[in-house]
Structure formats: structure tokens, C-alpha cells
């Protein structure tokens, strides 16, 4: 007898990913689809994809999906959730989307304690536009707009958005994970599961920041990109539970 040990999750469409080799988005998409299936919430989940590399997320998730303008994911998700409070609403956002152009929307959604789940993918650059400096670009990291590396005096230092969000009173659960190793991928899935459970329990704002490799714009091999997260990125963005008030 044949036994199925690995298959496409129920809430992933049968579509090949457009992401670059070694990119973390496809892993994160899969983890989310697995969680949505395991929690049996696929028929009541509405996702809000961003502008950025993951803009086409609606082609992959087999749940209702409503595209937000750049940075406005938390505001659009708020509108959906307040209209349909018994549905599960997530926004999926990159670092430029959430920590630059959409900072205000994100902080205020967290502060209001909107009962939504935000998946914040941090690859420390603007991926889709070709690798410009993001708010999360590390000091000394090269980008197409920080030739010679990000300089604190000229470009400012990377922003700790998750830590900032943690001090808002409405944020209930915030964790930073990574998808650069099997161990970290497992932890990420746990964190995503917890974030959705927080919403299902109606506790308030939940967010998982996921450090994700971008070999194309980092100009590294996928293996080196995964290694660089362990060696460098976590020095600036340590992997940890930043806030947990789920009690």
C-alpha cells in the first residue's frame, strides 16, 4: 500500500510559486496553509496580501483574498474583521510595507487591539523593486540605495518594529522567528499556529515576524543566505517571543 507522507496543503492552490530560488515566501505560505488546514478555519479565513514580492499571494492561498494598497494591510484587515467579527482575518506584509509606508496603520491597529493576525516577513530589503534599503536593512548591509553599506549617520539604523508594537496595549502576542533552518521552520509554524489561535480566542492583535532569506537581492547562494541570517541578521533582530499576554 502506498502511503501519502507529503502533499499540497488543502488551502494552497495548484499553482507554481513565482518566487526566486531560496526565497522564504513559499515556505511561509506553505506553513500558513498547513496551519489554516489544521485549525480547520479555511472556510472562514480572509487574507490580505500586500504590495511587494508577495502581492501574488492571492494566486496561492485557496481562501478569500483581498488586496490592500501598499502598507495599508492592517487598515483593510480592520475593515473586514469589524464587518465580519466571526471570520479569521490575516494580513501578510513585507518589511517595507509594514515598517515604512504602513507604520501608522500597523501601530494603531495593534494599539486598538484589532483581533487580526499579521504575518510580517522581514528580508531586510525591498525585494520586488530590486533590493533597495528597507527600514530593516542592517547596518553595513549593501543595498542598491546604500552603496558601501547602510550608514547609521546617513541612513538611520534598522527599526525594531516588533519591539515597538509590543509596547502597545492592544498587542497580545508577538514573536520573531526565521525560516532558514528546519528547526526554525518548525518554530515558525508553532508561532503562526499560536497567532491564529489568539485571534480565534478573540484575545486581540497577534503578529509573527519571520526573518526570511532573499538570496537574489542579498547576492548570495541560498545556503549562504540561510547562514547569514544565523550569523548576522539575528544579531540585530534576535529570535524570541517579544510579547505574550495570552496567559
Amino acid at each position: 500500500m502506498e502511503k501519502v507522507v507529503f502533499k499540497r496543503p488543502k488551502y494552497m492552490k495548484e499553482a507554481p510559486f513565482h518566487y526566486c530560488p531560496g526565497c522564504g515566501h513559499s515556505i511561509i505560505h506553505r506553513l500558513m496553509a498547513e496551519v489554516i488546514e489544521e485549525l480547520d478555519i479555511g472556510e472562514k479565513t480572509i487574507g490580505v496580501p500586500p504590495a511587494g514580492c508577495a502581492v501574488l499571494a492571492y494566486d496561492y492561498f485557496d481562501t478569500d483574498m483581498g488586496e490592500a494598497p501598499h502598507g495599508r494591510g492592517a487598515a483593510v484587515a480592520t475593515g473586514i474583521k469589524r464587518t465580519l467579527p466571526d471570520r479569521i482575518v490575516f494580513s501578510y506584509q513585507g518589511d517595507g510595507d509594514i515598517a515604512a509606508i504602513g507604520t501608522a496603520e500597523t501601530i494603531h491597529a495593534a494599539n486598538r487591539g484589532e483581533n487580526i493576525t499579521v504575518i510580517f516577513v522581514n528580508n531586510s530589503c525591498y525585494g520586488m523593486t530590486g533590493g533597495q534599503m528597507a527600514p530593516t536593512t542592517l547596518l553595513d548591509q549593501n543595498s542598491t540605495t546604500t552603496p558601501g553599506g547602510r550608514d547609521k549617520n546617513r541612513d538611520g539604523a534598522p527599526i525594531d518594529l516588533s519591539e515597538m508594537l509590543a509596547i502597545t496595549r492592544g498587542a497580545v502576542y508577538i514573536e520573531r522567528t526565521a525560516v532558514n533552518s528546519i528547526k526554525n521552520i518548525r518554530k515558525t509554524k508553532k508561532a503562526i499556529t499560536k497567532a491564529f489561535k489568539v485571534q480565534m480566542a478573540g484575545l486581540g492583535f497577534s503578529l509573527v515576524e519571520i526573518l526570511s532569506p532573499c538570496p537574489t537581492n542579498w547576492k548570495m547562494s541560498p545556503i549562504d543566505a540561510c547562514r547569514w541570517i544565523d550569523e548576522d541578521v539575528v544579531q540585530t533582530f534576535p529570535l524570541k517571543v517579544i510579547k505574550d499576554e495570552t496567559g
Binding site: A68, R72, V76, G79, A104
Partner: protein, 353 residues
């Protein structure tokens, strides 16, 4: 009832169940009204948003989820909302946006103005689209057009703007409200995002990467705008039957003009009023037909000449188009308009048979 509150009460009666807004004068009475009204409804949501951008994008989300949703602001705030209005138009989502115009550009002032005509009727945001624009002039019309705004938004799946000004939002007038809409009896929306239960999943988006598909979408919107133009263009006429001079004005300017026309009639001048009720679609056909008999039109606006362009386009150079404008938040008096009318009347020798 105060104008802003009339819009609020009419919106609730039209089934509006989601409002998000940001404080800005001279329309704060509207969000204040909505906060109380929504609190009294079991299924109502009021959010004081952190910004105009957040407010319009919350409305975008609520509309995706099927709510009759509204936001409101005044000129500088409406500029900020244009991103969301473009996305609403592109994604074919219904929503109602109230613009209580004030003096501009920039921060301007808080006095009544009609400076946002171009922004409202030309789309306002980026891309090839139109926004339905309704221009109330009376308290009763604030109520009636607010009801219509929600109906048009749903029927045409498009953003609808109510273009008022600080005068109308602050003025108190008696109003008879229509009965509340029974939300359960409205046509269902088979496109909303409410979870893919026993149906395929749905996508609402505006990204269309393929140029051929994008062109198709642009033409699809254009065909819709053609239908809207045919179906809802609307204007009121007043004493135009024998008129030799017709004043074209909307909103507060039209009310002032009416007073001026009454005085001019007392002087024996044959003057009438044409008041566009829809600014987009512009009631060009009504003006064009009138142009067969009337050789002189006076466009009166509380700006330096914006609707003037649409009147000229409608008349195709076949009549004389004159202009009188008071920008900056100045409200003309009926006497002032009567003087403008009479001097123009005699200058054009309209008294001669």
C-alpha cells in the same frame, strides 16, 4: 437638523453600517454623529482612524466584506484619501465618500468653497477612472442624495462622492427622511469576501500585470462609466422656459444664484437657473439642448472657474459662456449675483427683441 447630521442620519437609514473617519473642520459633526449612531446599532461600526489613509482603507476592507461603508472629510483630507478611492474604483468596490469642501489649495481655510470640482469629477487619484459625484444644494437633498449615493455605489460597484461645502454642513434646515432600508431585502452581493464556505475562494484585487488584461479592464470600466452617464446624469432647472440668460451653478452657489435670479426677475430680466445635481456624470445633454434656445450662459462658482470647462465642452462653442466666481471661501449675496446678471444682461443686449 444640521447638514452634517442630515448626511449621517440618511446614511444610517440607507443601511450604512461602517464608518471610519478622521477629524477635520468643517465636518466634524458628521463623525461625531456617526459615533453615536453606530453605537446604537448592534451591527454598526464606527472607527476614529489614525489618518485619512487608514480611514479610506478601512472602508475598502469593510466594502470587501459586504458592508455599506462610508468615510468623510474636507478638502485636504480628501486629497489623502485619493489612494483608496483609486483602489475602490479599480477593484469595483462600492463606498460613499463625503467631501465638505473648504477653501484651498493647501491648508486654505475652513470657509465654504467649490475648489475641489476638478479633483472630484476627474477621478482625483491616479489611473483611468471616474467617481460618481453628487452635489446637494438643500437640506432635503442632503438626505435624498445620501440615500442615492449608497444605491448608486452598490448598483454600479463604484465609489460615490457627495460634494458639499462648509455652508451646507453647518446650516440647519427641516428635513423629511425616507424610511430605513431593510438590509436583508437588498440584492445579495455574490462577490464579497466572507470566507469560502461551500463555494470557490474569491479574490478582490487591482493588480493586473498583463497589458492586454489591463487594457480590457480599463475598457470594461469605461463601458460602465458610459452606462452611468446615460442613466443618472441629472440637473434641476428653474425659470428657464423663457430665459435669455441661464445661470449654471451647483450646491451653495446655486442657492445664492436662485436668490439673484429672483431679484433679476423682479427687474423684468428673463433669467433662469440650471443646477447640475450630478457633477459626474455631468448633465451635458440638458445644457446642450438648452443651448439651442439660449445664447448666453453665466457659470457661477465658488472658485476661479472649474465647472466652466464642462459647460463649455457641453455647448461646443454654440453659445456665449460667461463666468463669475468667488474663490477663497467667500459667499456671494443674492444682490451681488443680481448685479452681475443685470450688467451682463444689458451688455449682451438681451433686453432687445
Amino acid at each position: 437638523m444640521r447638514g452634517s447630521q442630515v448626511i449621517g442620519e440618511a446614511a444610517i437609514r440607507a443601511g450604512c453600517r461602517f464608518y471610519a473617519g478622521y477629524p477635520i473642520t468643517p465636518q466634524n459633526e458628521l463623525p461625531e454623529f456617526m459615533s453615536g449612531a453606530m453605537a446604537n446599532l448592534e451591527d454598526g461600526t464606527f472607527i476614529q482612524a489614525e489618518s485619512e489613509l487608514a480611514a479610506i482603507n478601512m472602508v475598502l476592507g469593510a466594502s470587501m466584506a459586504g458592508a455599506r461603508a462610508m468615510t468623510s472629510s474636507s478638502s485636504p483630507g480628501i486629497s489623502l484619501k485619493q489612494e483608496g478611492i483609486s483602489f475602490l474604483a479599480a477593484s469595483e468596490l462600492p463606498a460613499v465618500i463625503v467631501n465638505t469642501m473648504r477653501g484651498g489649495p493647501g491648508l486654505g481655510n475652513i470657509a465654504p468653497s467649490q475648489g475641489d470640482y476638478f479633483q472630484a469629477t476627474r477621478g482625483g487619484g491616479h489611473g483611468d477612472y471616474r467617481t460618481i459625484v453628487l452635489a446637494p444644494a438643500y437640506g432635503q437633498e442632503l438626505a435624498d442624495l445620501t440615500r442615492k449615493a449608497f444605491e448608486y455605489a452598490d448598483r454600479y460597484m463604484a465609489p460615490v462622492m457627495i460634494l458639499a461645502d462648509g455652508m451646507m454642513s453647518q446650516m440647519m434646515e427641516p428635513v423629511i427622511f425616507p424610511d430605513p432600508v431593510n438590509l436583508s431585502k437588498l440584492p445579495s452581493k455574490p462577490w464579497i469576501l466572507n470566507g469560502a464556505k461551500e463555494r470557490p475562494s474569491r479574490i478582490i484585487k487591482s493588480l493586473i500585470l498583463g497589458t492586454v488584461a489591463m487594457e480590457e479592464h480599463n475598457w470594461k470600466l469605461a463601458r460602465k462609466y458610459e452606462i452611468i452617464s446615460r442613466e443618472i446624469a441629472c440637473a434641476e432647472t428653474y425659470m428657464t422656459e423663457d430665459a435669455r440668460l441661464v445661470v449654471v451653478a451647483y450646491g451653495t452657489a446655486a442657492r445664492v444664484a436662485k436668490g439673484g435670479i429672483k431679484r433679476a426677475r423682479e427687474m423684468g430680466l428673463k433669467v433662469g437657473l440650471l443646477r447640475p445635481v450630478t457633477l459626474w456624470p455631468f448633465p451635458g445633454n440638458t445644457i446642450r439642448k438648452m443651448g439651442r434656445l439660449v445664447k448666453d450662459f453665466l457659470v457661477f462658482e465658488m472658485n476661479t472657474g472649474q465647472m466652466l470647462d464642462d459647460v463649455k465642452l457641453s455647448l461646443e462653442g454654440k453659445s456665449n459662456v460667461h463666468f463669475y466666481g468667488r474663490p477663497g471661501g467667500i459667499i456671494s449675496t443674492p444682490d451681488e449675483i443680481a448685479k452681475v446678471i443685470s450688467s451682463l444682461y444689458y451688455r449682451q443686449h438681451l433686453e432687445e427683441d
